[in-house]
Each structure stands twice: as structure tokens, then as C-alpha cells.
């Protein structure tokens, strides 16, 4: 209620809901932004890792004497040189810093070298003599369940059983299927890299590209045998992440080398080493049986999901939880019998990747919905609409969904975009499946359309105390104009959190000038990980709360100046307003007394553990997305071209529509990649394609036109009503592509990625 006597003259500073520009955008386009691989220091050494060429072996001998004697080599470190904890891990420290007696996967680190030149370091690593006794690897997750333990912790990471409703229920119509998903790589552009600098206090400063500074720090400190405060992490420019930087890779090695040599050490993985240096998306084998009534209502979903976690735990426990909880997809399912297993094998370790467990099961539940629709004689979309989850429905974990669940709205939005024109004989060959290579004849090309829908949780689940910390300082800047600085350990990995952080401060305080202090572990608490689509909600929430505390401090200042009670002062249009007199004090006037600063932790409302039946309110909130894919397929050649993807995505509220569009298009690219081209090919555990020559990710010619509609239903309890947006585009886009291939070919197509032989050599008559 603005007073009549003193109309507000404050400029409106655009806040949330606008297409604010990235603060790091200009240096990134000019090549001036410092990524972790761009760092250097006078006198620095270069690090290099020696990795196992074997999948499974006993290590009989590691002799580094020849390497240590090479000119220019300053350190060669093995397991014997780890002063603290010999192992690390996100949830349980089950992974050796350096393998010493047993090698459990192809590429496991054995030693690390520091030398004056990267080529010297590489040659020295090669000169380390290691005698292995190869052991037959266990590379099949089903077999690993019954195999002798590959690790003292055993081979079963987690079995999550969900029993919901009446497990004995059955439906009039039953469809059953088996599905497979291959191992996908995050394939971020900026390889793992960092610079470790020994400090005068005996500690170390590490400049590093990561997703979660504080959890890295704690793992590094444990292995260095050093108090956490002497291990100071600083976020260096991050060239993409997508889950692949949530686990430790070279962090501990780098710090050990720097402390051992007393010199700064830089390490940059080559692309092939990057494929060995981080966890991947879990391959999955899945069985589903869906029961429905004649009128097309789901009665029961049964599923058995086996995720291959590879040699070490990483975040497998949380990934399999998502896979089991979201196995039915975004549908009302009164009865469920679901078993999710995450299993240790001698394959490369798997952990976080965008979509985190929800991606794999989406290939299963969406193929099942198509099968069920066909068996019932109901339109595939209609079946989904008929069973769509709504607000106040229950998940199969028994949790009532109290937030927005716009399944129908997302489907409608995806379908509302016009379909592309048919392929014309006059279209350039590049527009056909196979493009400029083995180009399909126009007459052989068949078009297909598929729809898929998905559901996933935001932030961390199952009782984890998920929080983020932020501090905001407000002071008189240049010319006395108010200037804000945000301190947070939030990892900007490309997603645009830095933009959102500025928008929130502008929204809350009306300050145009908002700077972000460099992110690090010193002087600020954890922000949690830039994963699980959580930072807008979590770190955004912390910044919003810190700004609210600043406003209260400023109002107290104003009340002091006016000599009135705090109760009669309010915040209005970026100024303090004394309601009874209409007097105003601008921010600039209030800041003449000096800066104000406030720090806040934001904890999301607590979630609960799942009980023995897999029941419990384990999730904070869910995000929905629907995708429609159009493909052209040459069934004879097995070639697929994705022509168009349209989507409706549940975003809660769009805080920066352009950035969301970028997340959607980029996420769909990764979804399409998994659907038709991306797979780490393993031969008895050996990685066969660790390069961008052999591991293909979509190019400009592979990516179709994308049309997106943002479905805005503000989420109760979320800052500004905004949900996360990063993961949903990657979940159902790929399953929509597979549905479209099935539509085009009539083939079952139960495996992602779809390989040419899966189509061309399928024994099913087309």
C-alpha cells in the first residue's frame, strides 16, 4: 500500500522471469574465461596417471625406479605414498586412490607422476613397471550377483524392493517385455583438469572443475590425512559436468603430487583418459510386466531392474532408488512389485549422469505403455492421458504428490506443436537417414512418430539432509550506488546458476549491480552438488533467504534513523518505507552507515527413508516432461534420422526462459544421443571406444529442430515456484525416439542405443 504523499520513484530492476544475460558470457565468447585446463603457474609441474590395461588382475609388483630416475621427473607416487585413507567414495569409501593389490576395472589408477613437461610425465608413467596376474573378470551384472565377491564389501550394492498395494493383483490385459540400456558417457567438453598448489601451512590449494567442492574437499583431506581446513578448493572454470564430475577423479592425485614435490602441479586428462577417469551412466537390463483393466486403467506394474554399477559404489545406491521409485513412470499405479538391484562388476564404475536412474527405466515403462495400448486397442497417447498422475495422487512408494504434477498438460503441450513436412524426394541428401555417408534412397525411408513421458525427483531424497549455504553482502559501490556480492560454493558448470543468482538478488533487493565471489570452500559452507536439478531451488533458496535477512537488517537501520519501532517500517520497491509518514530511505542512503551482510543455510523440507516395502515420503518434489519425436528410418540399412522433437516441460515457474530453452535443447541432444548413437562399448570389461572418433555424440547434423513449451504451474514451497529443469529433457526424449522407430518399422526395438543391426538384421518381419 504505497502512501499517497511520496510515490515510489525507484527504478525497477529486472529480476526473475526475464532473459537476463550470463555474467560469464562475454569472457566465454572471447576465449578469456579461465577453465581448469587453462590454469598455469610459474614453476609448475605436469601430472600424469598410470592406469591398468587389465580389467581384473592381481598386482604382483609395481616398480617405479626407472621412472623416478628419468630426467625431468620429480615424483612418482603409488598406494604406498597415500598418507591418509587409502580409499575414497561419495557414499562409502570403497575405491582405492591407487590400486595396490587388485585391479577391478580397465583404467584403474596405479600411480601418478609429476614431471617438468607433460610428455616427460607421459613417458615416465609408461616406464613404471607393473607385473599383473590377470584374473577372469565378472562383467555380467546378473552373474555377479552369484559370483564370489570382487571386493570386501561384496557384489550387491543395493536391492530396493517396492511392494505397493496388493502384490497379488492382476489385470485383464497383461503385457511383458525386456529392455536394455547401454553405458552412456557424460562427454563434457572440458576434460578433467586442475592445478594443485602447496601452501605455506603445509596444506594445499586446489583449483578444480567439479560439481561439489565441499564433498571433494572432505574426501581429499581424508586421503591426505589432513584437517579439512588445510585443503582449500577453488572452483576453476568447468567445461560441462552432467554428473561426471560428482565423483573424485584426479583431485587426490594432484594434491599428493603437489605436496610431495613442493611445487604447483597441473594435470589435464586427455580425452581417452577422461573416458577412464569418471563414472558413467549405469547400463540396465530390465523386465516389466504391466497389468491393466479392459478400459485401460493400470492395475499393477511389476519390474525387475538390474543396474551394472561397475567396480565401485559411487552413487549407485541413489541411482537404483530412482530407478525403482520411478519405474512405473508418471502414471497412477495402485499395485506394484518392483525390485531394483545395483551390482558390482568389473566394468567401469557407474554413477551420476543427468537423469540419474530415471532415464533407464523410462525406456522400459514407455515401451510398455505402447505395448499395453496396442494390446488394449487404445490410442497410445489416450492410454497415457487416462492413467496420468495428478496432484494428490500417490507414487508407488505411497507418497502423496502434494506439488504440481502437470502430466496431461505436458503431453498436450508436446503434441500441440505442428508436425514437420514429410521427406521430399527433392530434399538434399543430408536430410535423409545416413546423411552424406551411406545415404538412404528416398523410397526406402519410412517416417515414424513416438511419444514418451517421464517423472523424476528434484534434489536429494530418502532422508538426506540436503542443504545449501549462501552469503550476500550489500555495500555502497561506485558513486555510492548499492552493490551486492554473493558468496556461495555453488558449482557453475554451464547450467547458468550464476545468472539465476544475480536475478534473485535483483528481485529481492532491487540492486542492479550483483557480483559473484569466486566459489570455494573457504569461509562458506557447502552448497551441495550441482546435480539432481537442485541448485535453483537449493542455492537459489539460500540466496533468497539471505536477501530477506538483509532486508530485515536494513529496515532495522531505517527504524533507528527514524527513531520509530521496527514494526512501522516496511520494504517497498527497493526502499525502506515508514508507513505512517510516507518517508522513504533508499538503499544508497541506508548503506552510508556501512555494508550489511547475511548468511543463510537453506534446507529443503525433510524427506524420509524408504521402509522394507519401499514405502515412504522419500522425495521432495517431482518434475514431468513429455516428448514427441519424429524420425525417418531406412529399415534396410538400419539408419535413423531424428527429424523433430517437441516437448512440454513442467518447470514450475520459468526464472530465465532462454536459459531453460538451452537446458531443454541440450538435454534432448543427450537423450537422442543415448537413443541412437552413444554407447561405451565393452569387450569383457575392456573399453573399446574411449575417443570422440569412436564414441559419437550428436553434431549439428544429428540434432533435429526442437520446439519446447514451458508448462508453468508454480511449485508450492519452492523459491518462486521454480522446479529444476536440467534433467527432464534427457529422460523421455530418447524413449520417444525409440517409440518413433518402432512406429516407423514395426520392430520391437527394445535396446538403447539402437544400432543399425538392431533394425536391419532384426529377424522380425517388417
Amino acid at each position: 500500500m504505497p502512501p499517497a504523499s511520496a510515490p515510489a520513484v525507484t527504478r525497477r530492476v529486472p529480476g526473475v522471469g526475464t532473459d537476463a544475460a550470463r555474467p560469464d558470457g562475454v569472457p566465454k565468447t572471447r576465449g578469456e574465461f579461465a577453465f581448469s585446463s587453462d590454469l598455469w603457474m610459474d614453476g609448475m609441474l605436469w601430472g600424469k596417471t598410470l592406469r591398468s590395461p587389465h580389467v581384473s588382475a592381481r598386482v604382483l609388483l609395481v616398480d617405479a625406479s626407472a621412472a623416478r630416475a628419468m630426467p625431468g621427473v620429480r615424483a612418482v607416487l603409488t598406494a604406498a605414498d597415500v598418507p591418509g585413507r587409502q580409499t575414497y567414495g561419495l557414499e562409502v569409501p570403497d575405491q582405492p586412490v591407487f590400486a595396490s593389490d587388485v585391479v577391478r576395472y580397465h583404467g584403474e589408477p596405479i600411480a601418478a607422476v609429476a614431471a617438468e613437461h607433460p610428455e616427460t610425465a607421459r613417458a615416465a608413467a609408461e616406464a613404471i613397471k607393473v607385473v599383473y596376474e590377470p584374473v577372469d573378470p565378472v562383467v555380467d551384472a546378473e552373474l555377479a550377483l552369484d559370483a564370489p565377491p570382487l571386493h570386501p564389501d561384496g557384489n550387491l550394492f543395493r536391492h530396493l524392493a517396492i511392494r505397493h498395494g496388493d502384490p497379488g493383483a492382476s489385470g485383464d490385459v497383461v503385457v511383458e517385455g525386456r529392455y536394455e540400456v547401454g553405458m552412456q558417457d557424460q562427454a563434457f567438453m572440458g576434460p578433467e583438469s586442475g592445478l594443485a598448489v602447496p601452501a605455506e601451512d603445509g596444506g594445499v590449494d586446489l583449483y578444480i572443475a567439479t560439481q561439489w567442492l565441499h564433498v571433494d574437499r572432505d574426501q581429499i583431506a581424508a586421503s591426505l590425512g589432513m584437517p579439512a581446513e588445510r585443503v582449500r578448493l577453488h572452483l576453476a572454470g568447468v567445461g560441462g559436468a552432467f554428473g561426471g564430475r560428482e565423483d573424485v577423479s584426479l583431485q587426490i592425485h594432484l594434491c599428493l603430487l603437489a605436496l610431495s614435490t613442493g611445487r604447483p602441479v597441473k594435470m589435464v586428462y586427455s580425452r581417452d583418459e577422461s573416458f577412464f577417469g569418471h563414472v558413467h551412466r549405469h547400463p540396465a537390463t530390465m523386465w516389466f510386466r504391466h497389468h491393466a483393466s479392459r478400459d485401460g486403467r493400470l492395475v499393477k506394474v511389476e519390474a525387475r531392474i538390474v543396474l551394472d554399477g561397475g567396480a565401485y559404489l559411487s552413487s549407485s545406491n541413489a541411482v537404483v532408488s530412482n530407478a525403482a521409485c520411478f519405474a512405473p513412470g508418471p502414471y497412477k499405479v495402485p499395485n506394484a512389485v518392483i525390485d531394483g538391484y545395483a551390482v558390482r562388476t568389473n566394468n567401469p564404475p557407474c554413477g551420476a549422469m543427468r537423469g540419474f536412474g530415471a532415464v533407464q527405466v523410462c525406456y522400459g515403462h514407455e515401451a510398455q505403455m505402447d505395448r499395453l495400448a496396442d494390446a488394449l486397442g487404445i490410442d497410445r497417447v489416450e492410454l497415457r492421458l487416462r492413467n496420468a498422475l495428478e496432484r494428490f495422487d500417490r507414487l508407488v512408494t505411497g507418497q502423496v504428490l502434494t506439488g504440481a504434477v502437470p502430466v496431461r498438460e505436458c503431453i498436450a503441450a508436446a503434441l500441440a506443436h505442428p508436425l514437420p513436412p514429410p521427406l521430399s524426394p527433392s530434399d538434399p541428401v543430408l536430410a535423409r537417414p545416413g546423411g552424406a555417408g551411406l545415404t538412404a534412397d528416398h523410397d526406402d525411408v519410412r517416417r515414424g512418430v513416438g511419444v514418451a513421458v517421464s517423472l523424476k525427483n528434484v534434489a536429494y531424497s530418502e532422508g538426506f539432509d540436503d542443504y545449501a549455504t549462501a552469503r550476500v553482502r550489500l555495500e555502497a559501490g561506485v558513486g555510492g550506488e548499492p552493490a551486492a556480492t554473493v558468496f556461495a560454493a555453488t558449482a557453475e558448470v554451464g547450467q547458468g546458476f550464476v545468472t539465476i543468482a544475480q536475478q534473485i538478488v535483483r528481485e529481492e533487493l532491487g540492486v542492479a549491480d550483483v557480483a559473484l565471489a569466486p566459489a570455494g570452500t573457504t569461509g562458506i559452507g557447502s552448497a551441495g552438488s550441482s546435480s539432481a536439478s537442485r541448485q535453483t531451488w537449493m542455492s537459489g533458496g539460500a540466496i533468497q533467504l539471505a536477501c530477506a535477512r538483509l532486508r530485515r537488517q536494513l529496515l532495522a537501520r531505517a527504524a533507528g534513523r527514524w527513531g520509530c519501532g521496527g514494526g512501522s517500517v516496511e520494504w517497498d520497491a527497493g526502499e525502506a518505507l515508514r508507513a505512517e509518514t510516507g518517508e522513504r530511505l533508499s538503499l544508497a542512503e541506508l548503506l552510508t552507515e556501512g555494508p550489511v551482510e547475511a548468511e543463510q543455510e537453506y534446507h529443503h523440507p525433510p524427506t524420509k527413508a524408504l521402509d522394507a516395502e519401499g514405502q515412504g515420503d522419500a522425495h521432495l518434489a517431482v518434475m514431468v516432461a513429455a516428448h514427441r519425436a519424429v524420425v525417418d528410418v531406412d529399415p534396410g540399412l538400419g539408419l535413423v534420422r531424428v527429424v523433430q522433437v517437441t516437448t512440454g516441460q513442467d518447470v514450475g515457474r520459468a526464472l530465465n526462459p532462454t536459459q531453460i530453452t538451452g537446458q531443454i535443447e541440450g538435454g534432448i541432444a543427450q537423450g537422442i544421443g543415448l537413443a541412437v548413437m552413444e554407447e561405451i562399448v565393452l569387450d569383457q570389461g575392456r573399453v573399446r571406444n574411449p575417443s570422440f572418433t569412436d564414441y559419437l555424440i550428436p553434431t549439428t547434423l544429428d540434432m533435429p529442430a526442437v520446439s519446447a513449451t514451458l508448462v508453468e504451474q508454480p511449485e508450492p514451497g519452492a523459491p518462486y515456484g521454480a522446479k529444476g529443469v536440467g534433467e527432464p529433457p534427457t529422460i523421455s526424449s530418447g524413449p520417444a525416439v525409440l517409440a518413433a522407430i518402432r512406429d516407423a518399422t514395426g520392430l520391437p526395438v527394445t535396446r538403447a542405443p539402437v544400432r543399425p543391426e538392431d533394425i536391419a538384421l532384426s529377424d522380425r518381419e517388417v
Partner: protein, 168 residues
């Protein structure tokens, strides 16, 4: 910066980069143009994403042709003229493209961005009227993992049309 070479080093050579002659001393013959630019000349705009010519992150102009700097030995660039994203930035030649990338939302993590700036600059000066498929083909050697290319292609449209949004 430590620059000792592992094997016998070349005494000295000179590289012409962004119009200036840079002496390179004590380098190993096996060093790529990308390594020398980044680690000896301090020009880190060209990026090291795959180092085998697959991703375009290290795109530079060598005698006016786009090359992957990771696939060129630095000594083979002696006598040639090298132009990097830093050079295109300093001259203002890529200003419209850089502004369009920002305006369209074509920058996320930014690791591929300098390579795209060089590739788009080369495309638009050679084929200012390229249609969408031609643009896609021309840029298919530049990988981006964040954007799905949608905003980058939009930026190319804006830059080629000299849109006011791209002019700044």
C-alpha cells in the same frame, strides 16, 4: 611456467600469431600448435577437448583456413600466419558473432564457444547466405555437449542477418 622439453629441443623458432611474431624457445619438436599456443604463448582461447581433430574446440585460422590446432605441429606453422579467437576478438572481426551467441543464449559451459566463434566467422565470411542445412554441415565439426546447438544456430542466423540484437 615450466617449459623444459623432454627430448632434444629445437633451439628457437618463430610463430606469427594474430599479426605478431612470437619467439618459441626450447620447445620439443613434437609439440602441437595447440600446446604451444596455450602453454608457451599464453593464448588459451583455443581449447583442448579431444586433441585428435574431432571436436573443433581448438579451431584456429592457419593461413586463413580453419584447422584444428591439435592436429598441426607447431613447427609446421612456421612461416604461416595463425589467427586465434584472441585475434578475432582484438580486431573486432567476430564481435557480431560473439554478441549473437550471447543474445541467443548460445553459451553454456563455454568450452566449445571459442571454437565456434572461429568456425562461424569463417563460415559467414565465405558463405554469408548459407541456408540452415549448409550452416549445420559447416559446423558439424564443432561439438557442443551443453546446448544441443539450437541457440548456437539461432546465433548464426542473428549474426548473418546482422540483427540489431547481434550488433552490440
Amino acid at each position: 611456467m615450466s617449459r623444459d622439453a623432454p627430448y632434444e629441443a629445437v633451439d628457437r623458432y618463430e610463430l606469427e600469431v594474430n599479426g605478431a611474431v612470437h619467439p618459441v624457445e626450447g620447445a620439443w619438436l613434437g609439440e602441437t600448435l595447440l600446446y604451444v599456443l596455450r602453454e608457451r604463448l599464453g593464448l588459451s582461447g583455443a581449447k583442448n577437448a579431444c586433441e585428435q581433430g574431432e571436436c573443433g574446440s581448438c579451431s584456429v585460422l592457419l593461413d586463413d583456413e580453419v584447422v584444428c590446432a591439435c592436429c598441426v605441429l607447431a613447427v609446421d606453422a612456421v612461416g604461416s600466419s595463425v589467427e586465434t579467437v584472441e585475434g578475432l576478438t582484438a580486431s573486432g572481426a567476430a564481435a557480431g558473432i560473439q554478441a549473437a551467441l550471447l543474445g541467443a543464449g548460445g553459451v553454456q559451459c563455454g568450452f566449445c564457444t571459442p571454437g565456434f566463434v572461429v568456425a562461424v566467422y569463417d563460415l559467414l565470411r565465405r558463405s554469408p547466405d548459407a541456408d540452415e542445412l549448409q550452416v549445420r554441415e559447416a559446423l558439424s565439426g564443432n561439438l557442443c555437449r551443453c546446448t544441443g546447438y539450437g541457440r548456437i544456430l539461432e546465433a548464426v542466423r542473428m549474426a548473418s542477418e546482422g540483427s540489431p540484437r547481434a550488433a552490440g
